[in-house]
């Protein structure tokens, strides 16, 4: 189990109670560990880097290359897979463009009303420390860098545990593992090579499919904010600590008017998709599916499909799916 092992691992903690304005409910959390989380969040906003990382889930390992450049307007990123089908994802501000050469498709997604980073941070850390015990671990090496280990243990079984490795000097997250309740690793991300700072050419942010994708099919999600409660959709009950972050309407896979409710516990997010069942689009596969730390559960509700997707245990995802109701 994660608890006794973690305790043995981390030993007595040096608690510095005055460093952060956090509530007493967070007694189990080491405040210096919370500061490390702040550093990690800040690092993605402030650092430019380029590197290669592996994503492993189950028996599958895939290598990707990433370029992350921070400009005055915020970070711009490009990710491309090095194994299997070539794919590319480019993020600029709140817009994500996904190039899928195998199906000659470009997918565009925008996050309307995305809030600025510092604004969400304090709120997020508060949620996070109410739902997880956060502790500082030892210093370990990853990709040639000495890293601080941070362990996030879930306070109940409705969320997964995490272990993070952050570069001692910059706070850059170099490795992350997600654990289930048996302390088995569900998935992990790890940099095998990274250059932090220095000269990173902006031309590397350009899509390699930019030219040839001109006659590809474009799927734009056309996402807008929405009030789904007003339309009659409610989530009757939810696992402790998960609250609604945003409500949207989008086009997905050719179906327009798909409702999207996002719940979060400060770390893990769970998305609820509400999709009208149409004759031309087959509904999702009912039941539970899983990839690494992501679980998907779909069920029909009237003439709609409710599909819940999240980096949370199957119990949580199913619980939420079963709680979705339509009342008019």
């Amino acid at each position: 189990m994660i608890l006794p092992r973690a305790r043995r691992l981390f030993g007595p903690l040096g608690v510095l109670p005055f460093l952060l304005p956090v509530s007493a409910a967070i007694a189990q959390t080491d405040t210096t560990a919370l500061q490390w989380l702040q550093r990690i969040y800040a690092a993605t906003q402030k650092l430019s880097y380029t590197g290669t990382f592996v994503y492993q889930q189950g028996q599958q390992v895939e290598t990707s290359r990433i370029i992350h450049i921070v400009e005055a307007s915020g970070p711009r990123e490009r990710l491309e897979t090095l194994d299997g089908n070539p794919r590319e994802i480019i993020r600029t501000g709140d817009e994500v463009v996904c190039y899928l050469p195998a199906s000659t498709t470009v997918k565009i997604d925008k996050q309307p009303g995305r809030r600025a980073f510092p604004e969400i941070l304090s709120e997020q850390l508060k949620d996070l420390s109410e739902n997880y015990s956060i502790r500082k671990g030892e210093v370990e090496r990853v990709g040639g860098y000495s890293c601080q280990v941070i362990a996030l243990e879930p306070k109940d079984r409705m969320r997964y545990g995490h272990r993070l490795w952050a570069d001692l000097n910059t706070g850059m997250l170099l490795k992350a593992k997600t654990f289930d309740e048996k302390n088995d690793v569900l998935e992990q991300f790890a940099f095998t090579q990274i250059q932090i700072g220095g000269n990173i050419g902006r031309d590397q942010l350009k899509s390699r499919y930019f030219r040839q994708s001109r006659d590809w099919r474009v799927e734009d999600s056309g996402t807008t904010r929405a009030n789904l409660a007003e339309a009659g959709w409610t989530i009757r009950s939810r696992p402790a600590g998960f609250r609604t972050v945003t409500e949207l309407v989008r086009t997905m896979g050719g179906t327009s008017g798909v409702g999207h409710i996002v719940l979060s516990d400060g770390l893990a997010a769970i998305s609820v998709f509400i999709q009208p069942a149409t004759s031309k689009q087959p509904g999702p596969q009912p039941g539970l599916m899983r990839q690494g730390a992501i679980n998907v559960y779909a069920r029909p509700v009237g003439s709609y499909w409710v599909t819940v997707v999240g980096e949370a245990p199957p119990e949580s995802v199913k619980y939420i799916a079963d709680s979705v109701e339509y009342r008019r």
Binding site: Q57, Q59, E62, H68, Q124, F189, P284, M289
Partner: protein, 180 residues
């Protein structure tokens, strides 16, 4: 047992626990194979495995006799991959670089009670070349799940920590949902 092993490798076992496990490691060949495998995976993740390693694995696999035993017709891709993998693992002793490009990332769970599966016991070995894309089972919902994942990803706070990195999930190749 495997969990203990990983604790041992991480240097998290102490005293009697550590001694007992080292003893078991001396006598249990399967456990020792897992020990080798874990170290190899670690090396691979740290980029210490050279190209010649993969070449050696491929060469050894090519020496493997072709298995002519009939397969059950309804074997799913996941089982098939595992089955190939284990036949390879049995004879290639300390091998374990995991390169499952045609595997099924997506698993349909038969029932919730089963919980997250623990996977094939022991190290799984295969190389991309040994499993062709045509070996993969029925493709049911890959594209659709991808749509959901892409839509979901930006809202994960884990993403806020890792930037675009978790999108690797959505571009993970060969995602196929397999009915068990």
């Amino acid at each position: 047992m495997k969990e203990k092993l990983s604790a041992l490798i991480d240097g998290e076992l102490q005293g009697n626990d550590c001694q007992a496990h080292l003893g078991r490691l001396r006598t249990d060949t399967e456990l020792r194979r897992a020990w080798d495998a874990y170290h190899l995976i670690g090396d691979a993740l740290r980029g210490h495995v050279g190209a010649d390693f993969t070449d050696r694995v491929v060469a050894r696999l090519q020496e493997e006799p072709t298995v002519l035993a009939p397969q059950r017709r309804k074997m799913t891709a996941a089982k098939r991959v595992a089955w190939y993998a284990m036949s390879a693992a049995a004879s290639v002793a300390a091998v374990t670089l995991v390169v499952l490009t045609a595997s099924s990332g997506w698993r349909a769970e038969p029932q919730l009670a089963a919980g997250p599966e623990t996977g094939v016991s022991g190290p799984v070995t295969t190389v991309a070349a040994s499993v062709s894309a045509t070996d993969a089972g029925p493709l049911l919902v890959g594209v659709e799940v991808e749509n959901y994942l892409l839509a979901h990803q930006p809202y994960s706070h884990i993403s806020a920590m890792q930037g675009i990195v978790p999108y690797a999930r959505t571009v993970a190749d060969g995602r196929r949902a397999v009915r068990k």
